[in-house]
Amino acid sequence: MTVRMDKRFAAVKAEGRPALVTYFMGGDPDFDTSLGIMKALPGAGSDIIELGMPFSDPMADGPAVQMAGQRALKGGQTLSKTLDLAARFRETDNDTPIVMMGYYNPIYVYGVDKFLDDAIAAGIDGLIVVDLPPEMDDELCIPALAKGINFIRLATPTTDDKRLPTVLKNTSGFVYYVSMNGITGSALPDPSLIAGAVKRIKGHTDLPVCVGFGVKTADHAKAIGASADGVVVGTAIVQQIAGSLTKDGKAGPDTVASVVTLVRGLATGVRAARLVAAE
């Protein structure tokens, strides 16, 4: 784990609550607005930032994240600009962990070694690359771990006990449990099922387990946070951004503020989570 990631999970644990992990798409709807959103996230209560790397063909994403990626690409976002976004954020915040999330092709085309060096220079703590399962670890996971960047793996309902050790083997930072078989933006499944799955995963690892896919409201965050070490919110934030844009898809006057409002609400949710668990 990077020091930042370690410290952050330790800190929220000391507060007796799960971490709030927030996803947004880098460059949506434009670089400057996106940087504004990123800078505002920690103050609104986000503990860890997932920075989306736009890709033309996001096969595991629903319409909301697809459209966010399209807006970002249309606004001229590239992988090198997304790295730049992180670097600019780091100028004023050296504590909030940043995890870059996306698909492999832009990284492959950028060049794996160059990407990892630039990611370290930009202050990146971890990577989530949707289309790199453990069978493809030689591509990016092993080189990333060798350079000290976390490689955060997704575990899903299809990851049974037989497969979990394979998935966990080279995972670091945290485990991202995908709450359902499906794409981002789907409805949240029954929290008690999720709690069972988290428990099952924790039987195989000491890493924190964060849960995402389908978490949209403070109540969801509270319910999921009762069992998980972290709650990931993505589509709700991306939709909030989409809803704040002008008719021609440009940043609106309230784009950053509306994200802040949403994240504040979610932050109260995670802070109430363990109270429920204790009840």
């Binding site: 595991a60 992988l79 090198s80 092709n105 990284i107 990851t159 794409i183």
Partner: protein, 406 residues
Amino acid sequence: MNETPKPNSFRSGPDEDGRFGIFGGRFVAETLMPLILDLQGEWEKAKNDPSFQKELADLGTHYIGRPSPLYFAERLTEHLGGAKIYFKREELNHTGSHKINNCIGQILLAKRMGKTRIIAETGAGQHGVASATVAARFGFPCVVYMGATDVERQAPNVFRMKLLGAEVIPVTAGNGTLKDAMNEALRDWVTNVEDTYYLIGTAAGPHPYPELVRDFQSVIGKEAREQILEAEGRLPDMVIAAVGGGSNAIGIFHPFLDDAGVQIVGVEAGGRGLQGVEHCASITAGAPGVLHGNRTYLLQDHDGQILEGHSVSAGLDYPGIGPEHSWLHDIGRAEYVPIMDHEALDAFQVLTRLEGIIPALEPSHALAEVIKRAPKMRKDQIIVMNLSGRGDKDIFTVAKILGMDM
């Protein structure tokens, strides 16, 4: 690349991780991983199961109509004045193209795996029709994802799929073509992973699809090899096929790969020319990248974003190519060349008038390359071309381009 050592056999790939050299692999979301490992296991068993092979062969004979003829195109040969031209008549198969060979094989696998629902992507609609056909024949519900642009330009096939009981879902993302349909099919699959079998229509996607689609399509090349030996007492000098995702091409190429004297030529869609982005020549004008589960040559920009491409033929309108072709290209065993939209349209008309065969626009690309090459070859040389499909589905597109009233 020249430094790549030549293998002892060109037919032994992929390795156990699904790689052909650096190409292929399993670049999928974790949700799908257990499933494609299951599929691989099931395929290993089925391959060596005589009862599976027998059922496949029986359906090939009595349902598809195999073997398809190898036809000597006498008038075209005379017209071009060079090499003797033979067509492998896959357009005579049930449903009108080679796509059915793969669909019959995969539906038997789906049945073995206990799946209860079939999904497929389609470009020209030939694979969609073939999928809907086998789904009807075996009693599965079937959902076909098809780009909205293709729904429009391949209307007859959309109607056929609906008649066969399939649900056709138009995909409006991107340019509304094959790539977008494939994204949407993958999204359906991760959502319905427990009961759904994804019947991929070409020799691409994550391992084991490129291998198993190739194996099901290799019946084309196996028959063609026997038929040409029977007809001419020797192997051809050249085998030519059009390449979309690459299934009809790898199907006819594969059995000839270790025959050193046989030149192998794949024809990509050159669209409106290779200068801009209005083509689908992934090998000729693309670069290696990762999409839809495998590493292969792709049309993409400097940032690794996939480009949409263009071809007059919906079945070739795909920015990638099956990984085995990328490998065959890099090691120099096969050659890949582009043919422009207008050349394919000319070839379409030549064949129609000279041989009384209306070809699909996809193999019309291969034919255009034959028309270029045959006159430069000796009369005792032989070309075998895969006539992968018939043109009924394309008559509206062609009429529109030629300005004819229907």
